[in-house]
Symmetry: C3
Subunit: 345 residues, 3 copies
Amino acid sequence: MADFAAKASDLARRVDGNLVGDDCHIDSMSTLDKAGVGQLSFLSNAKYQKQLPGTQADVVLVTEEFVDLVPNSAIVVADPYLAFAKLSQLFDWRSPIVPGIASSAQIDSSADIDPTAQIAKGAIVGAQVKVAADAYVGPGVVIGEGAIVGESTRLEANVTLYAGVTVGKRCIIHSGAVIGADGFGFAHDGQGWVKIAQAGSVILGDDVEVGSNTTIDRGALSDTLIANGVKLDNQIQIAHNVEIGESTAIAGCTAIAGSTRIGSHCTIAGMSGVTGHLDIADRTHITAMTLVSKSIKESGAYSSGTGVEPHAQWKRNVVRFRQLDDLSQRVKNLEKLVKSLLNKA
Amino acid sequence: MADFAAKASDLARRVDGNLVGDDCHIDSMSTLDKAGVGQLSFLSNAKYQKQLPGTQADVVLVTEEFVDLVPNSAIVVADPYLAFAKLSQLFDWRSPIVPGIASSAQIDSSADIDPTAQIAKGAIVGAQVKVAADAYVGPGVVIGEGAIVGESTRLEANVTLYAGVTVGKRCIIHSGAVIGADGFGFAHDGQGWVKIAQAGSVILGDDVEVGSNTTIDRGALSDTLIANGVKLDNQIQIAHNVEIGESTAIAGCTAIAGSTRIGSHCTIAGMSGVTGHLDIADRTHITAMTLVSKSIKESGAYSSGTGVEPHAQWKRNVVRFRQLDDLSQRVKNLEKLVKSLLNKA
Amino acid sequence: MADFAAKASDLARRVDGNLVGDDCHIDSMSTLDKAGVGQLSFLSNAKYQKQLPGTQADVVLVTEEFVDLVPNSAIVVADPYLAFAKLSQLFDWRSPIVPGIASSAQIDSSADIDPTAQIAKGAIVGAQVKVAADAYVGPGVVIGEGAIVGESTRLEANVTLYAGVTVGKRCIIHSGAVIGADGFGFAHDGQGWVKIAQAGSVILGDDVEVGSNTTIDRGALSDTLIANGVKLDNQIQIAHNVEIGESTAIAGCTAIAGSTRIGSHCTIAGMSGVTGHLDIADRTHITAMTLVSKSIKESGAYSSGTGVEPHAQWKRNVVRFRQLDDLSQRVKNLEKLVKSLLNKA
């Protein structure tokens, strides 16, 4: 795992920040309450302001407003959380890649591997695959025939790319992700299901992150498309011919059914489901465990479901839900009767 | 990836269709609006009828009714979608299998591999495993002791079969699927959980498809059973001792809890959950994200949950859901009062 | 797969039970209705009492109360289900481990592998990894730099441990599980997402079971923590910095969002979702497919959602759900009007 140290003044320069206080060496990051010597922390949420005066962090990223409360050194920036994100990458756990092909990797002779790329132990790379400069193909990864891995992209251990899949630049695909398996398409012949071969592929843009055990299916006749900057958490299921717009972020265990188009700059919280053949507008925000079963034309926040409650109380309410249409009719009827009584009174 | 071309007249013969117009060579398939030279398309949904006169497809699969609208050649069939499904398989992305065992595959000496089967690079095959004729064991696949892989079955890259699992003929198991892991069974000893060894196995029938990262657990005392023709999409969880009937199709991310029996010819949409020890009738259809918590005795369509709505509106309704039983009581009370008023009036 | 036989009297001794009837050899277990010669069964649920007199099992685990109904031999214990669980482990399908490192495994020279551990074919073990005594590292497993695998722990085929992950003693991690991938953390720079490096790790306690294709992400600044005795089913998603307390059991496909703390001795049924930054009390029980979106302070059972119903009926009720707040206002209004009418009457 990578060891790294930097001077606070260097860090300040990287985020266009202003170092207030003594310069020092920083080798890791921590939260305000747990940070100690050699550590950088940050204040981005007013909730943690009370931890600021007592922090042992050598340096804290803060806005101008809070600089006087910082006990040691401060780096003053406009957006401490964003500055923290940028600097965090210096302290990443990943070791720098080591160009070359491990002797236990199995590379088809027709594959085109850039000499600056790393192919780790036990990776299996198929015919006519292209792996671009500075890419990392982790241990146990399998890349099918004709797939393309872009510059500086990382495929972590045990990722599977099916034949013909394209992954853009600077992507991270986490372990167990499967990209390009057959979409779920069948015709019924009256007795059972006849498979529809899935002749499309999957194209991932640049700067896409795909979480562990997420699956993205190949298209039926055209391709499944994931635009630049899309971030997918773990165990997400993207069906065939889905299109996801730029910089949309989707949290864990969400599923998007076939041929649905998700706009750009959307956020979809965890365990939500979007049914097939829908259009979801740009900048739509879906809360956790929502079922989206119709297109959304206006950006905004959307939800479905009911809230958690004690089981005994829930059981009673659930019974009433089944009677809700009936209840509604009864209220309508009461309104009529009361109106007639009021008229008489 | 496979290259393939066929004469339109051959294609017509394969689907008992009637070629109307010139014969020609077809090398791929596309949608009506995107098809071009050398491509086959189809019209199965009236929604796309308006695209028919303008299509550039060299050949279109249509019913008799629409043959006059086809600009180039037509193949007239009773069910264009079914015919498309059948023909699509000729254009599959998979290369034909290459019989033999890759030198980097690790095969136990007691395994019985048919000489017409292909064992790809890095596959690991345990003791007493049987791999039948024309089967394909992909790169990185692990097959545990005593498992059986049927004729013409494909295990795509990085599939795991645990010891003793049986997979029938002509199945496709997609990457990352895990078949035969321990069912989730524990007894509580007052302090914590004591594992119950899972002594059963998993038996998959013929023509079963299992999606990527789907998991099917081994049974506790008897076997988990997946009947012929069952189609499972990605990331489905099938718990121990579940039985799924013939030709049932289940969409992505659905979970079936332990010992539940799903009938034959059912469809279960994505992200649904079926709790344990239930019986679901043949030809039951479950809509997306439904929780099935009791047995279903009559075939038909079933649902649960609420529909998507703007978040602010949803928040108000969710509060009311928690008060629904109370609301119902209040309506009942109003009905009594109004009745008494009506009696007096 | 393991073959095993034991004398009934030995089995009785292992569970502090009392053998009533003849001693005999037992080589497997089964249910009362299916058991035959050489098989052990058990009665723990009154529902199956009627199967007891007719069972062919050579030995049945029962409480004192039912001993007279057992046709062959009985082992009398206080808790037959618990005794069954304990004895079941003798009949596990797993073969005993074979100490040593397979020649096709790739072990970094700086890794420290106990000589009693087994490293199976094709496993890839990174720098400075420690594998303790009697541990099993299955085929195709990848263990990242500096990870630790505790005594007697099993990593089944194709498991991935990222760098720095710690797994305790006597754990079982099932195939396809991914432990230590990056948590889903990003800051927004006004245009798109900036990755926050995930500098924490994952620590699993002792006796933890992790189901197939379950994912547990590494923490952002501190570690994700899974306490002793936690049992996780398949396809569960545990986000960064989650903490799960001792002996909590979680069923398949549930997701826990970032920084949430789940207490000890909880049970969470399948496909539930717990949103981020919550605290869930010890001994909380969540039913299937519940969305927990606020902290739970008192132990007890909790639920959300609605129950399954015929689709046509559900459609009507779902419309009414969207009008629920309005309906509630209308009832309130009716109550006022009726009150005024009653006052006048």
